[in-house]
Amino acid sequence: MDQAQLTNFAKLVILAMVPYVLASQGTMLGGRTGIFNVAQEGIMLVGASVGFLAAYLSNSLLVGVLAATLVGGVFGLALAYFTTTLRMNQFVIGLALFFIGLALSTLLFKFAIGVTLRPPLVPTLPNIAIPGLAQIPFLGEVLFDQNWLVYFTFIVSAFLYYLLYQTSFGLELRAVGENPKAADSLGVNVTLLRYGTAIAGGMLMGIAGAYLPMVYTGTFTEGIVQGRGWLAIALTFFGGWRPDFIFLGALFFAGVEVLALRVQVIGSVVPYQILLMLPYIATILVMMPAFKGVRAPAFLGQNYDREKRTQV
């Protein structure tokens, strides 16, 4: 691989990691207040569908991204309402939202576009070189000559890290996912934080979905998310529900994924199904020892009821 090929490879890896990072950070955010979202795949599909349609109809990719953010937020709101206010089982509600998203994504597309021979297209997101930074050899081109959603992903990850570990707000937020009763007894608004993180998490997943037609295909196709949403759950666990580890984990996974595609294109004796499995196997093998010490929030997946008596 020469210099140009290497640069190109690295750029593709950064491009590929974006949806994983966004969806995983969204999962992490809700999980930190105890809300375990399992509807990533569905929310990303709806985000892809709505994002594409809004962009196509309005002729603006920004409008598309905003629409996907909104619809992702609505799914997050629904999850928060059913689990935090109605105290229903998080896993069941999450699966229901997944199926709703799955169906809704295709339905909306059929309804708005109908059946066509030639797929409707939107332009893909253009690269915006950041003046100065983009001139750095190799790294500049890889990191700072990308589309704006890549920069957004960097900023969101750094911001979440700062928010969770360097502010008293983050201290309160994490406490809700560890011991909501303790947080509640100290005047932390558990309900508000759970709603807030579930909605913000859903928004990130919606954007992660919209990214796919806007960067890769230029159009919406059924099942465009291809299991990335499910993988985000695994990446969140492997990343110990920490923004920094999640970022690194997604980077590694995207790297192996792009590499496997490369090998496929070049041609190899190994059946391509094996190559497709490679990223998953490599991720498990590397991350199990690497993030061994990390743990999930203690209250993950549970609902909090202030007046519930612990004794029977």
Partner: protein, 508 residues
């Protein structure tokens, strides 16, 4: 607090309760389990919403809808089960929920100085940077108190604060409380232990069945009057074991006979290969009750479960009446040799969806006469269950009633009935009186003593030191999985046991 009423479903937890707390006083809130002490304080702290009633502070009516309101009004509470984030440091737990400067990053140095000043002022020693999950119970409690003090509260509520503390830690807690009230604060002290209210409180209010029965100055209170107020007419205090003042409640055992339980250098390893129980040697003789003292989580559970054959020791030997536990399945042990009252009755002892009758024979359901050729003999089971329900005064509709309909105290009665109604040479009882009302505790004590009188051996694992001092012939103290010391009845001294509980002997 005036005429406070609170119901949970159809259960009236508080019925028109009145409570009046003065400045500069430690006010004892005394009552048995289920009397409504904690519920009342949870109402004051904004965790429960009262159905009716009024709360006034300094004469002004106040509305308290949440703990945030309570803290703003100067009310702080230390719950029996500490509300702490185990993965945070002491300092982070204390400052959680308060305003901290966040730019450019979280500034905790100032808060740390304040915590240190408070801890010096009230004699509450803590290490601000220590991770909470590494701390012993006494230190965790100091963190809880500092948490309240840090918020500038005027009224501190302590819910059963002496559970899991060594006698030494209890004394130092009382000293700190004295400093607080001398500086203008008020303390509400929830407890079911008579000795503590008599030694620490200025005034005492007794609750029974959700009603305030009486309020007295300590000078005007006698232990007898308080006990009678706590139990009402249900129990004759003069005959009571629980409040007995005599030194001996039963005769000493004969330790020249072969022991019923013999444990020899038993070690049980945890998941990470760390010993949870280490080189534990213990014998329990016929006619003997041996107590296991210690702060919860020092190997008590492993001790009980290894005797039952539920956890396999990595080293050592256990035998019950000459039968090797390692060679015998648990179901065989339960047949004739051992009865078990588990610590966590809901987790390890009771099937809420099964009937009361089924629960009463659980563990013996494969034995005759309850089962024949693999089929359950329902007429026999129901007859036995009806007999036990009567004998053990279990409040239920009958053998077919669903287990989940029983209250906590009645579930424990089922556990007791099951343990004592079958022949067993050894009874292993883990916190058998936890969560019980006073007549039920009395009942459990009488059953334990009856088992002893009949020649049985008992291993009584309890976090309640008073209970052990009352009933046991010997007390072994567990500390970090090791037996730190064994005292016989004539050597009993709660401060000595306290030293053993805190590992003072091993560490020094």
């Amino acid at each position: 607090m005036q005429a406070v009423r609170k119901t949970f479903g159809s259960v009236v937890a508080l019925n028109e309760v009145n409570l009046h707390i003065n400045r500069n006083e430690i006010h004892g809130l005394l009552g048995g389990n289920g009397a409504g002490k904690t519920t009342l304080m949870n109402v004051l702290y904004g965790l429960y919403k009262p159905d009716s009633g009024q709360i006034r502070l300094d004469g002004q009516p106040v509305e308290i809808h949440s703990p945030r309101d309570a803290i703003r009004q100067g009310i702080g509470m230390v719950h029996q089960h500490f509300l702490q984030v185990d993965t945070y440091t002491v300092l982070e737990n204390i400052v959680l929920g308060t305003a901290i400067k966040n730019r450019p990053t979280m500034q905790l140095a100032e808060a740390e100085q304040r915590v240190k000043a408070l801890s010096d002022q009230f004699g509450l020693t803590v290490k601000p940077q220590a991770m909470l999950e590494t701390l012993p119970m006494g230190a965790r409690q100091r963190v809880e108190i500092l948490k309240a003090l840090y918020r500038g509260i005027k009224i501190l509520i302590l819910d059963e604060p002496t559970t899991n503390l060594t006698p030494q830690e209890v004394d130092s807690l009382f000293e700190s409380l004295r400093v607080m009230v001398s500086q203008g604060m008020s303390v509400v002290f929830i407890t079911h232990k008579l000795g503590e209210v008599m030694s620490a409180c200025d005034r005492i209010t007794v609750l029974r069945e959700g009603q305030s029965v009486l309020t007295l100055d300590r000078a005007a209170a006698s232990p007898e009057s308080l006990v009678q107020a706590m139990v009402g007419d249900e129990l004759d205090v003069a005959d009571s074991l629980l409040f007995s003042t005599s030194k001996t409640v039963s005769d000493p055992p004969d330790r020249t006979q072969p022991p019923i339980l013999a444990m020899d250098a038993v070690t049980v390893l945890g998941d990470n290969r760390q010993p949870l129980l280490e080189a534990c040697s213990l014998a329990v003789y016929p006619n003997e009750i041996v107590g296991i003292a210690g702060v919860a989580g020092n190997g008590q559970r492993e001790l009980a479960e290894s005797i039952l054959g539920l956890q396999a020791p990595s080293a050592g030997r256990i035998s019950i009446a000459g039968t090797d536990v390692a060679q015998t399945p648990t179901v065989k042990l339960l047949e004739k040799l051992v009865s078990y009252i588990p610590e966590d009755r809901l987790q390890d002892g009771f099937l809420p969806s099964a009937s009361v009758g089924q629960n009463l024979i659980l563990g013996r359901h494969r034995q005759e006469p309850y089962s024949k050729n693999g089929f359950l003999n329902w007429p026999v089971i129901n007859r036995a269950a009806r007999r036990l329900i009567g004998e053990y005064k279990i409040r239920t509709l009958g053998p077919d009633d669903t287990g989940a309909n029983l209250s906590g105290g009645n579930i424990q009665r089922v556990m007791i009935a099951r343990a004592f109604s079958f022949p067993a040479q050894l009874v292993v009882a883990h916190n058998p009186t936890q969560g019980l009302d006073i007549p039920s505790i009395e009942f459990v004590f009488s059953k334990l003593l009856a088992h002893k009188a009949a020649g049985g051996a008992t291993l009584l694992i309890s976090e309640n030191l008073e209970e052990l001092l009352l009933l046991c012939d010997r007390i072994a103290t567990l500390y970090r999985g090791r037996i730190a010391g064994i005292l016989t009845r004539d050597e009993f001294d709660k401060y000595e046991i306290g030293r053993l509980m805190s590992g003072a002997r091993i560490d020094s």
